[in-house]
Symmetry: C2
Subunit: 406 residues, 2 copies
């Protein structure tokens, strides 16, 4: 059995780094705070006698050797970066549960044939640098290193430069090596497991996602002396786009979701008619065909809005992510581990994107979900119980042991 | 006659301070750039032999003595602060034209019975610190010093602290002294004069304004795993408010205008449902009764939107500014000066607010408008011709001389 108290203590200690007054975390990727989180994780790994490798995307891999030379590792892990107003568990649980599994194997004196690694993937959240999960994406060959390094945040800083700045542009190549299997434990970030009183979600699929950046351009002018009919107000157009995006989600019930998360009018002055608006939009659905229909509705709808409001428009798709089926063998290992532990479990689809969804392209992969209170995530009040954390980690341990072979 | 070339040179030199690549100006009030603009104006005044006074609101008054002791001054002036993406003329023309009038009086060896002052009013624009025209407002008794000092920008910095920081919290009391008359020359910031081929607008009224801050609060959560029906998306509500505000303006044609200039979703992350949105809204109309009706429509409309979208709402009115009639005597002086100069002129209502609108509460006041290209203002491409600038300044000179008595 894993040590639930030790796991919880580690979660709480990591939660101090970038901890917010409301009990959440602000550990945005590649900031100084992210560096401090990484340094703490590295220290814990070193204290546990694990060998640390950092790759060219800043992904961190802490390895416990196997008994047989030359075998590919079984991997666990998730991410330590958070949303600007995120919680203490999204991502962090999967990394620290991985560490707890390795600590427990030491306590129990268990050796495995395959090496086991615990990974911290860079920029999973995608809040500062879009798209999300870009570093596991590079690992899986979805992007080149050059593409990833060139991504800029809203202040114009490049991901590659920020990696270097915080000292985590590592020597190891990103990807291109064999992985026996990958397991990611994560909080559900939705309400289903808690609503149904279930301890463990056996994740069978990840849904597809499309992310966009939309820029509407009108003409800035004086709010007091520009008559209504002469205006080209980019924010009035953007408001219609926000409503369009919401409607496109509602038009494909019950599974589709659609969100405008970021919206910035320019120049953003009280008495200036906004001349330009930048906004982000994202759609998700488990079926590719529905995403195609949503994409069409978005493009047609925006074209109509822009024409009517006399605005110029640019639509850039920044992320196109097909639905992902996980590996049957690994999913089976998770289900068996849940049964063995006597936990109530059910199959579930992941609403969020995860690093595991990219790794599934290059290695057999599965995910384990634990419930979270009220289904709330990407919110400082995100909460789980220590019992849920322990149950998920226990299942992680047994799934990994099945594949890594004792 | 005034020296049009000298005036234009001064306008261009001031335009370098905070000059933007697009040819506009970013000289936001009480920034370091604003200080540099103030320092340049102070140097020019000192070179012209004028006595400078700075009051407790940072208003600057450069005085040319009159021939008779104890008489109240005739004042000219406007403001040197700009919008974040403003032009080189909004406000600046009125200050530097005032300086040019005093320079010309020296050239022409003209003495006046009354002293003449040229003023640079602090924070006219209201972009950084709302409301606009707050320093002429304090001068006219509309606000107390304490109220003004306590106003904070979006970064939480207080107006009083920023005044101190840039070294312009002066010793002189703000207001409480007699002014014989006040004349403000300004660009129209609207399209009427240019459309009609007219050189000089004789401003008879300023329209009324109401400014608001609206905060909508829903609940932040994960954009991928929160089903549509469970959402309380503050941005979807805010989009409806933007459309409401626009409609309220359109509902009172042809004179009403309505604008949302600033809108900030929180936390502003691509894959987080916005939990809160802050936005500003402003209405303008020459009749108080219409402003009352617009206020009612706004409040009722927002209440309905918030109820439907399950959002909490807070509406703060930050500016309530009744329509202003200017002084008949001063307006007459402007009209006579325009006729004397042989300029095409017409009566006009000001769409924008101006410091003159507050000073009108404590002294006989009038305004002179010059055309601007395309009616464009609060935009880096704001433009006027040197001939328009000279014509306006010429009219300013003669209106002032009539009241200051040669
Ligand atoms: N798990 C998670 O919140 N990932 C961020 C990417 C996404 O929005 O799905
Ligand atoms: N003249 C001018 O643009 N003043 C700023 C205040 C307003 O928005 O009317």
């Amino acid at each position: 059995r894993i040590d639930g108290a030790r796991l919880w203590d580690s979660l709480m200690e990591m939660g101090q780094i970038g901890g917010t007054p409301k009990g959440g975390c602000n550990r945005l990727t590649l900031t100084d705070v992210d560096r401090r989180g990484r340094d703490l994780f590295a220290r814990w790994c070193s204290e546990a006698g694990l060998a640390m490798t950092v790759d060219a995307m800043g992904n961190m891999f802490a390895r416990r050797a196997g008994t047989e030379a030359g075998l590919p590792p079984v991997m666990m892990g998730s991410h330590l970066d958070t949303q600007p107003t995120g919680g203490k568990f999204d991502g962090v649980l999967g990394v620290l549960a991985g560490l707890e599994v390795l600590r427990s194997l030491d306590d129990l004196n268990i050796r495995t044939r395959h090496p086991i690694e615990v990974a911290n993937w860079t920029n999973e959240e995608g809040s500062r640098f879009a798209p999300a999960m870009v570093a596991s994406g590079v690992f899986a060959g979805a992007y080149t290193l050059e593409q990833a390094y060139a991504i800029r945040d809203r202040d114009g800083k490049a991901l590659g430069d920020e990696l270097e700045r915080i000292g985590f542009k590592g020597e190891a190549p990103c990807g291109g090596r064999a992985i026996r299997a990958m397991f990611e434990l994560h909080i559900e970030q939705g309400p289903i497991l808690e609503d149904e009183g279930i301890d463990i979600g056996v994740v069978t699929h990840g849904q597809g996602q499309r992310w966009y950046e939309v820029t509407l351009t009108g003409f800035e002018s004086h709010a007091g002396s520009t008559p209504m009919p002469r205006r080209r107000d980019a924010l009035v157009g953007a408001a219609k786009v926000v409503e369009l995006v919401n409607r496109v989600g509602l038009d494909h019930p019950p599974l589709a979701v659609s969100t405008v998360g970021m919206l910035q009018p320019y120049p953003g002055s009280r008495n200036v008619i906004p001349g330009q608006v930048f906004l982000t939009c994202e759609f998700r659905h488990p079926e590719e065909a529905v995403l195609v229909a949503m994409d069409r509705a978005l493009r047609d709808g925006i074209a109509a809005i822009a024409a009517e409001a006399k605005l110029d428009v640019e639509i850039k798709q920044v992320f196109d992510y097909p639905p992902v089926p996980f590996d049957e063998g690994c999913v089976g290992a998770v289900r068996r581990a849940a049964e063995r532990g006597g936990f109530r479990h059910r199959d579930i689809v992941s609403g969020a994107g995860h690093d595991a969804c990219y790794i599934a392209r290059v290695a057999p992969t599965a995910m384990i979900f634990t419930p979270c209170v009220g289904g709330i995530s990407h919110n400082e009040s995100e909460e789980i119980s220590p019992a849920w954390a322990s149950a998920g980690t226990q299942v992680l341990l047994h799934a990994v042991l099945e594949i890594a072979e004792v």
